[in-house]
Point group: C2
């Protein structure tokens, strides 16, 4: 119940243990094709260039920036947590002039902030973190995307924690480049990063003046490997691909809308239980993530000690705050397979017991009853 990796379904773990075939074997090529098709459905896009990068979510982030940025390009990046901060670092290493649009950690990036930034510069792209895993805030992006396109820029979106847990609509929202992770709401082990580039982004990537600085992440090379040509590039992580294939199948078997509703309902249940314990969600009201709940640590409580006891005595992992939120929040994940009623009840019971023993009096039975409504 941390900020990821989330629990993994038994059938996905089973898929991970299947015997290895060659990465250009017809059996594996079929898995590659089906994975691309399912990823398009999950991303709600028709983008041809939709596939998983052979690295974790951060490699997916780097993939988007190295392919789209050339030295000297200006980029606007929304910074309201760890991952916006990371995007600035990655973009800077690509030689970009980075214009930061900042919001306090836990708050969203407002469209007006982007509009204001677009008055001061003419960026090649604007990048936003959809679901900030470090703060629990979900930034609405539809209006921002319109502003970005009106300014003639590409729109880049981090959906590491949002994909599979709440609506992500690439085509409807006109997202040009997106990356995600496998270990959050897709409930696959970490190790790959689903990405997708719009035809507009592909045009930018293929008409660059300079070579992409990363050979490993160069979409011009990856397109031939994951495309119809099957030109050898690197050796894809076969077992991870088996796992992702099965995880995506489970997502689509449940249905995207059902899956989102489950995440929403379980978030509400947890929130009701926490509320009954006099606990507050730390992120901005109205924009709280369903899959990652940040909880304000009450005064006088040692947040690390609570986490340690949850792990050691109850085998429950929750996450710590990062950066300015260190020591101030807990992060309780309800992602994918982890988003279950029984997990909420087990967590509230253990959490309440520890809080009571730490001198913060709560009524556990009332909290669990509240979570069941």
């Amino acid at each position: 119940m941390g900020p990821g990796p989330s629990d993994v379904a038994p059938s996905v773990l089973m898929a991970m243990s299947k015997p290895i075939v060659g990465h250009l074997d017809p059996v594996f090529v079929k898995i590659m094709d089906e994975t691309k098709t399912m990823l398009r459905e999950v991303f709600q896009t028709k983008n041809d260039m939709t596939f998983p990068i052979s690295g974790t979510g951060s490699a997916g982030m780097e993939f988007c920036f190295v392919n789209l940025i050339e030295p000297g390009d200006t980029v606007v990046i929304g910074v309201n947590g760890v991952f916006g901060t990371r995007m600035c670092d990655v973009a800077g290493r690509c030689g970009a002039n980075v214009v930061k649009v900042e919001a306090p950690w836990g708050q969203i990036i407002e469209p007006k902030q982007i509009a204001d930034a677009l008055k001061t510069c003419k960026p090649k792209l604007v990048a936003i973190v959809h679901a900030e895993t470090s703060t629990g805030a979900l930034t609405p992006v539809e209006e921002i995307s319109k502003l970005v396109h009106a300014a003639g820029a590409l729109f880049v979106l981090d959906t590491v924690t949002s994909l599979g847990g709440c609506p992500v609509k690439l085509d409807a929202w006109q997202v040009d480049a997106v990356y995600s992770g496998t270990q959050k709401c897709l409930s696959c082990p970490p190790g790959m990063s689903p990405v997708s580039l719009s035809p507009r982004a592909m045009e930018v990537a293929t008409k660059r003046k300079t070579k992409v600085q990363s050979w490993y992440l160069d979409v011009n090379l990856l397109a031939s490997y994951w495309g119809q040509d099957r030109v050898y590039h690197h050796t894809a992580p076969i077992s991870m691909a088996y796992g992702l294939h099965e995880a995506l199948r489970l997502v689509l078997e449940e249905g995207l809308e059902n899956r989102f509703r489950r995440h929403e309902q379980n978030h509400k249940a947890l929130k009701a239980g926490l509320h009954a314990m006099k606990m507050e969600i730390a992120s901005q009201a109205g924009h709280q993530l369903w899959q990652l709940n940040t909880v304000t640590v009450p005064a006088g409580i040692d947040e690390a000690a609570v986490r340690r006891r949850l792990l050691n005595e109850f085998s429950i992992e929750i996450g710590a705050g990062l950066g300015p939120l260190k020591g101030k929040i807990w992060r309780v994940g309800l992602m994918g397979e982890t988003s279950k009623k029984e997990n909420i009840h087990t967590f509230l019971r253990a959490f309440g017991k520890i809080l009571n023993e730490s001198g913060y009096a709560v009524n556990v039975e009332v909290a669990i009853a509240a979570a069941k409504v």
Copy 2:
């Protein structure tokens, strides 16, 4: 029996399917520590900075170059196959002036060639492919390493296919930066790249004037994640790490020397069988890889058709030639778990049957008998 991925032991596949824990969980930290210790043993090094990169072998290659090269640096690269060629591409993308030392594909890089190159330039590093997977040649590196260090340069070595299949002695050979893959002679699924940097290489990486161009592969950040601090960088691929941990345990359980002897003996057996079939190993005599046997395609035989029949009728994968060797060789892998007597016999029987039916008369029983001596 292709050029990798190789077969994976059942206990490694079992490990891949174990439930996921958090990537900063004490259980996982212990796995990280043990993996580093075992990797040092397999690499025969005391280098503190020895760990697996969260990407495939090509990411390991990029890791070495992005961390050691700054724009304008001169590098000497031995090119005698696909992977030396790839190193030039990767180094060029780091802004290096690349001096190529070339040998025909299938031949080794001679120390004299490196000595000659070192008379013409003053490189920051010299990089060599130990075992060229594309050609089946094993370049001896001890003498080359001495020349490199005498010239004050760092020595970088690709051990993707050599590690675990034949001696790789980082400290004895004074290798400064090395990368490997999991899916060759370590017999783990593909997805991670074991790397190691000597203290001298670490000094270069930490005293750079410019930032490492890749955030994902920046050793200055990875050192804190894989070191004692456990500072969050990216989310390690948990299941892959489980698999690598078990694969390394199996390598050390067998013993490095036993493992090398097994690879050598099986290479000799295959070679004897092929010889009895009037087939020749294509790579340079005296420097033929034990784990990857390149076989010259006889005149009049359609190499792709033979591979297709082996796969479709006998479920045996072997590899095709690449680049200038396309259509001219087959690549028969005897890597890690795949290096087994029964695989050699099964292969010779199937291969011989197809050759006979293709009009190239061979005596299969004689070949198998030769392989059994």
